[in-house]
């Protein structure tokens, strides 16, 4: 790594970080409501169900998945940031049950003040992850900007009959989560210079882990619904799945895995603004039992960068899926169950 890139602390260049930088769900809905809805019988998944990517049927055997995702630095090391941003962007394809084919870089960068070394490192990190996913990196687009941002536009493929959307979850399903929560908190702590090494290592290790194996396992079991957990937090993305599927959920907070140290950091006020935005957006949709501590609530609402998959699976298949996820190196945490209540409602006990 060059001397120059050693000096730069990427997270100090932006006011918000990673998916915590996402436009709040409430605001986004207001804006999108003003756009005309395009429809086509070939568009299998559009924006109506709040899914992770668009799916377009090319033939009876083939559908394309298209997604774009980029954000501001979540760590100080350029190469690592590139890896995380690319992993996060590729995840949208995995969340639909597909495989990425083609990726394009999306870059905003202060080339004049930071120079090209840092940018080259970021892009090298991204390219590593695209390669690991088996996709091809084929160009991109960059603009000069004070705050660095990086991500990918990704095209993937899936069989039209095997798209896994937000909308198929059923009462009785078990909810399974494949990565620990708390990256928003740990990233805030990194920015503050207060993150313990263990917390940082755990967050980095999981943020750079592709959701590929987890997605392939889910596809093999024909799970009912799936999404990836990013800026709206576990509960925000769960709410999207519940609303699209017409079911309610009961989550057991003690079963939800978190990065080591994340809860302690949240208890010291290292809670990103996105957590508060997610809480106010969800409002009455979520009810916390009195026994659920504030730090546990903050973890459930924490905006994730490159988070895991949230899978809704039939109860008789849950055990085997969990075992397969764990054998593949992912988490297979059964965190709750779906019920036949008011669609979108979440009870956390």
């Amino acid at each position: 790594m060059s001397k120059e890139s050693n000096h730069v602390r990427l997270t100090q260049l932006t006011t918000s970080s990673g998916c915590a930088a996402k436009v709040g769900p409430g605001l986004l809905q207001d804006v999108l409501a003003r756009l005309p809805l395009d429809s086509s019988e070939r568009l299998l998944v559009g924006i109506e169900t709040g899914d992770d990517a668009a799916v377009y049927r090319v033939s009876d055997e083939l559908a394309f998945i298209a997604t774009v995702d980029f954000f501001t630095p979540v760590v100080d090391e350029p190469r690592l940031f590139g890896q995380i941003a690319a992993t996060n962007a590729l995840s949208d394809v995995y969340a639909m049950g597909g495989e990425p084919l083609l990726a394009l870089n999306v870059v905003a960068f202060p080339v004049c003040s930071l120079g090209t070394e840092v940018l080259a490192e970021i892009l090298a990190g991204g390219a590593e992850k695209v390669k690991e996913s088996g996709a091809v990196l084929a160009g991109g687009h960059s603009v000069e900007d004070k705050e660095p941002k990086y991500g990918l536009c990704v095209i993937g493929s899936v069989h039209p009959q095997r798209v896994i959307t937000n909308a198929g979850a059923r009462p009785g399903d078990i909810l399974v989560l494949t990565k620990p929560l708390g990256t928003g908190i740990v990233v805030a702590a990194i920015k503050a210079g207060m993150a313990p090494e263990g917390a940082r290592q755990s967050a980095v290790r999981w943020m750079t882990r592709l959701n590929r194996k987890a997605s392939q396992a889910a596809a093999r079991y024909g799970v009912h619904a799936m999404t990836d957990v990013t800026g709206f937090g576990l509960l925000g993305h769960l709410k999207g799945m519940l609303a699209a599927s017409g079911v309610s959920a009961r989550i057991t907070a003690a079963r939800v895995p978190a990065h080591p140290g994340a809860k302690e950091l949240a208890g010291m006020g290292l809670v990103p603004a996105g957590t508060y935005a997610n809480r106010s957006y969800l409002g009455d949709w979520v009810e916390f039992a009195p026994s659920v501590a504030t730090v546990d609530q903050d973890v459930l609402l924490d905006p994730q960068s490159s988070g895991g998959l949230l899978i809704s699976v039939a109860p008789e298949q849950a055990r085997d899926l969990v075992r397969e996820l764990e054998e593949g190196g992912d988490l297979g945490s059964a965190i709750g169950v779906l019920e036949d209540g008011t669609p979108g409602r979440i009870y956390v006990e």
Binding site: T15, S16, P180, A188, A189, K191, A192, G193, M194, G198, S202, R205, P257, P260, E264, A266, G267, M268, G269, L270, V271, P272, A273, Y276, T294, R319, E326, L331, S333
Partner: protein, 200 residues
């Protein structure tokens, strides 16, 4: 006169960083000014987390958060220990040599292991240390269902040892999330120094 730290207009997590630094350095009352609700809430969390007294007032469109280090503040990460809370009269080592308890059903065994470790946190007397060997070392790495329980035990003063050879065998040495990595020599020494060894 209280020390005043003006953090108005600063993005998260800067107010928390500055407040923590100021309160820790000061022997007096510290007031931190912020102008958004997120910063206010995070400062209240900081105060509670650090065991400081916190008070919030609102005036002219901003918040004044007042911190007072009520006597002694606790260093970060420590748990208040009552005398005798976590000591057995006899030095006891718990030896866990698998990630589940007993034979018959591994699934049941894993649930029992979780319940066993949780119960350890609930009784007054704790062992001096817990030693993990063979597949037992899976319990101390990232993703383990008992990390929180083990961290709690560790905070109470229980030593958590994982066999290094075993971690290497399963290729999870870089994923240890709680406790320390030990070796056979130290483990044997610990057994010999214990009045009793409880093997699970």
């Amino acid at each position: 006169m209280a020390e005043v730290v003006d953090c108005r207009g600063l993005p998260c997590p800067e107010p928390v960083v500055r407040a923590k630094r100021a309160v820790e350095a000061s022997s007096d009352v510290v007031q931190v000014l912020v102008d958004d609700v997120v910063a206010r809430e995070n400062l209240v969390k900081l105060g509670r987390g650090m065991n400081w007294r916190v008070d919030v007032t609102e005036a002219d469109g901003y918040f004044r958060v007042t911190f007072e280090k009520d006597g002694v503040s606790l260093p970060k990460g420590t748990v208040p220990t009552e005398p005798g809370l976590c000591t057995l009269p006899l030095p006891t080592t718990v030896f866990i040599n698998a990630d589940s308890i007993g034979r018959g059903s591994d699934e049941l065994g894993r649930a029992l292991m979780k319940a066993f470790l949780y119960s350890l946190t609930q009784i007054d007397a704790c062992p001096e240390r817990i030693i993990f060997m063979n597949s037992g070392v899976r319990l101390v790495v990232e993703g383990s269902p008992v990390l929180e329980v083990l961290s709690e035990l560790k905070a109470k003063g229980v030593e958590i040892w994982a066999c290094g050879t075993c971690l290497e065998y399963f290729d999870i040495k870089d994923r240890v999330a709680v406790g320390e990595i030990s070796n056979m020599y130290s483990i044997v020494q610990a057994f010999m120094d214990s009045t009793r060894v409880i093997t699970i």
